[in-house]
């Protein structure tokens, strides 16, 4: 009965590859997010979607493309992976903008 689930939990890949991280929430929330936790442990927002529409798009390289097929899913596709993309990526959702966020358990991405 996981509220926000993301897969895979660990992702190890070579530079230049394309990879996707999937996220699903069963809370009935309207808004979903992707956050990135960098090597200094800061959590920074990347994107947010409200009911499948892009709301927030921070200064993220075009190689990162979120896709929301429905309001329960927000996937993150990354093209041409670079060493600096290594981080933990967290998906989150909230009932509406500004409500407290519910986070997934994270995806540890390691680019070699």
């Amino acid at each position: 009965d996981t509220a926000v689930s993301q897969t895979p939990k660990y992702l190890v890949t070579q530079m230049g590859n394309d990879k996707s991280i999937k996220c699903e929430q069963n809370l009935g929330h309207d808004t979903m997010y992707w956050y990135k936790q960098d090597s200094k442990k800061f959590l920074k927002i990347m994107f947010s979607y409200n009911n499948k529409e892009l709301i927030i798009n921070e200064t993220v390289p075009n190689r990162f493309s979120p896709k929301s097929p429905d309001k329960a899913h927000l996937n993150l596709h990354i093209n041409s992976l670079e060493l600096g993309d290594s981080a933990v990526y967290f998906c989150a959702s909230s009932r509406r903008d500004g409500e407290k966020l519910f986070f997934g358990s994270g995806t540890q991405l390691s680019v070699l």
Binding site: K40, L43, G98, S105, G106
Partner: protein, 114 residues
């Protein structure tokens, strides 16, 4: 330029005593503040929040204090329990209220010793 700062990377307290975690912010536009708790290999979970119209909010053993003039907030845990051992993140809304665009501090690792 980090707008939310948690200057203590770690804190160790004895079980039963008070834990005080501090957070400073620089942007006077911030009007909503939250604390999240994170265990290893899990995502952050919401703990407690406070709006800028208040200076204190209490929920069981957890109390958050906000000092707007000093741009400082603190989380008090009384009494501390071993299960409270985790990383605690302070976060704030950026700009207007009701946005999920949270600015997080870098976290403080709390260790509660039995």
């Amino acid at each position: 330029d980090q707008q939310v700062k948690q200057n203590s990377p770690s804190l160790s307290v004895q079980e039963g005593r008070i834990s005080i975690l501090n957070c400073d912010y620089t942007n006077s536009m911030f009007d909503y503040f939250l604390w999240y708790k994170k265990y290893p290999a899990e995502g952050p979970t919401f703990l407690i929040s406070i709006s800028s119209i208040k200076d204190k909010n209490e929920d069981g053993r957890f109390t958050v204090f906000l000092n707007k003039s000093a741009k400082h907030l603190s989380l008090h845990i009384v009494p501390s329990q071993p299960g409270d051992s985790a990383v605690y993140f302070c976060a704030s809304n950026y700009g207007s209220s009701n946005t999920g665009k949270l600015i997080f501090g870098q976290g403080t690792t709390l260790q509660v010793k039995p």
